[in-house]
């Protein structure tokens, strides 16, 4: 999952960024509205956390333009102002959710999970498929009831593949959704993480879960 955090308050932006990275998200930050639109134009985000009170282009305008440009992901608005009129305006402009500052980081994380579940057409918070049990709330993975210890990045990879079960996911798409803008597309990052993930998944189990389809990508 890749998230764009748009927030002009540096201490808040960096805390959200660090927190989400710890949870296994790929995170980019923008400090004003224009920068946010620029990044959203270049990269693919699953969720945008958008402060309303932004320099240059304000949050409502960013939201409107994102939706005009057919940005398909989720938008969570963050603001210190909490009037009902503003909430309605925010939601009507295309936001999916709304959080009033100061909010708990854990609540933001839960709302991001809820939105990404909705985007994937999922209702169940825990994903069960092919003997795998993936809980994005805790980043815990089990195979046939046995816990597998994965790093946040490995979990994100597996979760992404599980959500797109049966479809070959190209390496570029994984790079887009699971790594942030600082990842170098020409390195072997995806391959290295994928090898580690496979090794951990197969330890003690016979069947190979993730297959590689040459020229197409990885499939679960």
């Amino acid at each position: 999952m890749r998230v764009l955090v748009v927030e002009d308050e540096e201490p808040i932006a960096s805390a959200i960024e660090r927190g989400l990275i710890k949870l296994g998200y790929a995170v980019d930050t923008a400090f004003d509205g224009a920068e946010a639109l620029e990044k959203a134009g270049v990269n693919t985000y699953d969720v945008v956390c958008l402060d309303l009170n932004l320099p240059r282009v304000d949050g409502i305008e960013v939201c409107r333009r994102l939706r005009e440009d057919r940005y398909p992901g989720g938008i969570i608005m963050l603001t210190a102002r909490s009037s009902i009129r503003e909430r309605i305006e925010g939601l009507d402009t295309g936001a999916d959710d709304y959080l009033v500052k100061p909010f708990a980081f854990s609540e933001l994380a839960a709302r991001i999970r809820a939105i990404t579940r909705r985007e994937g057409g999922l209702r169940e918070p825990v994903l069960n498929t092919r003997g795998l049990e993936l809980d994005p709330n805790t980043n815990r993975a089990r195979r046939d009831g046995t816990e597998i210890h994965l790093t946040p990045k490995e979990f994100s990879l597996l979760y992404y593949l599980a959500r797109n079960e049966g479809r070959a996911v190209p390496q570029e798409e994984l790079l887009e959704h699971i790594w942030d803008e600082h990842a170098n597309p020409f390195t072997q990052t995806v391959k290295v993480h994928m090898n580690n993930l496979r090794r951990k998944l197969n330890e003690g189990f016979g069947e190979q879960l993730i297959e590689t389809i040459r020229g197409k990508g990885y499939v679960l």
Binding site: K22, L54, K101, P102
Partner: protein, 372 residues
């Protein structure tokens, strides 16, 4: 029958004359004789004296009775009519007063939209009602501003609180957090509490201004400017800004020295923070007419006319991103204006985009303390 006849005769003057003569019990009647029936003499008419007296007294008492009844009726009628008339009239006259009372009793801090809207002649009551309406209008505006101020203030307070909370929570997520992370967390919390302290001081200043008794004293402006400059010199040096002073000695303002210090400090502090590197900030003081003038001029980016119209508004920021990084809440210039006005002065801005801005504080001179 007799009574009525006599009563009719009462109206006839000659009978009255006869009575006036007072010849007891004798009535004289003219005697007519001859072909022309001329009056030839008088002969007495003998009537029973007792009867006449009785008739007379009956006539008097009857008339008095009638008079009494009519008078009583008239008095009662008049009293009733004047009571009803007075009631109706006073009700009409006092209706506006009642309306005013009613509206006044309905008004509270949360319901200031009520008005009397008195329709009627241009009299004292109309004037009273209109004055009352305009007073409620002013109160409504003032309450709305106060509410907006509290909202803005709470918004400004929430942001540093959110930063503190978020940083603590994210640090807590990491079970094996190291010393460096802790140090970073503490630095953030410290910076944000500094910001909260600064903000609460500013808010307090804005809310108490005007309530303190204004006791002006002569203030030496050039001394005050030198104090401000020595205080802000390190900040200016760190930003690569040159501070110069051009103060005429002996200009004494009639103000409060700590308040005026705060105003000049805010202007210079602003000029240092928003003028950009290698700018020069010049602080001047002089007298002009009956006023002392302190000017803070910078060679920064200048301010557009749209922004200039709002720079003295509370919570207004010209460059939001920059202001945030400086930890400003957009209160510095609002404080300057309100404090200067409380000292019976004013503050003005002249700016040319691209060339720089000049803020000028004008307060009464100590020699002319009666400046309006």
């Amino acid at each position: 029958m007799l009574a009525l006849n006599v009563a009719a005769r009462l109206d006839q003057p000659h009978v009255l004359v006869l009575e006036g003569v007072g010849v007891n019990d004798v009535e004289w009647q003219p005697v007519r004789s001859g072909p022309g029936q001329a009056i030839s003499g008088f002969e007495p008419v003998v009537t029973p004296g007792l009867l006449l007296k009785q008739a007379e007294s009956q006539i008097y008492s009857h008339n008095l009775d009638r008079l009494r009844i009519w008078s009583l009726l008239a008095v009662v009628g008049l009293a009733g009519a004047s009571g009803v008339g007075g009631y109706v009239l006073s009700g009409m006259m006092l209706r506006p007063v009642r309306d005013i009372t009613e509206v006044a009793s309905e008004i509270s801090a949360t319901n200031l939209s009520r008005r009397i809207n008195h329709q009627g002649p241009d009299d004292e009551l109309k004037l009273l009602a209109d004055t009352f309406d305009s007073m409620i209008g002013r109160l409504e505006t003032s309450f709305a501003q106060q509410r907006q101020f509290v909202q803005d203030a709470s918004h400004e307070l929430r942001t540093p609180l959110a930063a503190i909370r978020m940083n603590i929570e994210v640090a807590e997520m990491d079970p094996d957090i190291g010393g460096d992370d802790y140090r970073m967390l503490l630095d953030t919390v410290k910076a944000q509490t500094d910001r909260l302290t600064h903000l609460s001081e500013d808010l307090l200043l804005l809310s108490t201004n005007g309530h303190d008794a204004f006791e002006p004293e002569p203030v030496n402006t050039s001394g005050l400017i030198r104090e401000v400059v020595s205080q802000l010199e390190p900040l200016a040096a760190a930003r690569g800004i040159r501070l110069t002073v051009d103060a005429i000695a002996g200009v004494e303002a009639f103000a409060r020295s700590d308040t005026l210090y705060r105003c000049v400090f805010n202007l210079v502090d602003n000029a240092i923070k928003y003028s950009g590197e290698r700018a020069t900030v010049t602080i001047r003081s002089r007298s002009e007419g009956e006023s002392a003038i302190i000017e803070v001029q910078d060679t920064g980016h200048g301010i557009t006319p749209e922004d200039a119209a709002h720079v003295f508004d509370r919570f207004y920021r010209v460059d939001k991103g920059r202001s945030r990084r400086e930890g400003g809440a957009g209160l510095g210039l609002a404080i300057v204006r309100e404090l200067v006005q409380a000292m019976r002065g004013d503050v003005a801005l002249m700016s040319t985009p691209g060339e720089g801005s000049t803020f000028a504080i004008r307060v009464p001179l100590a020699k002319y303390p009666a400046f309006p």
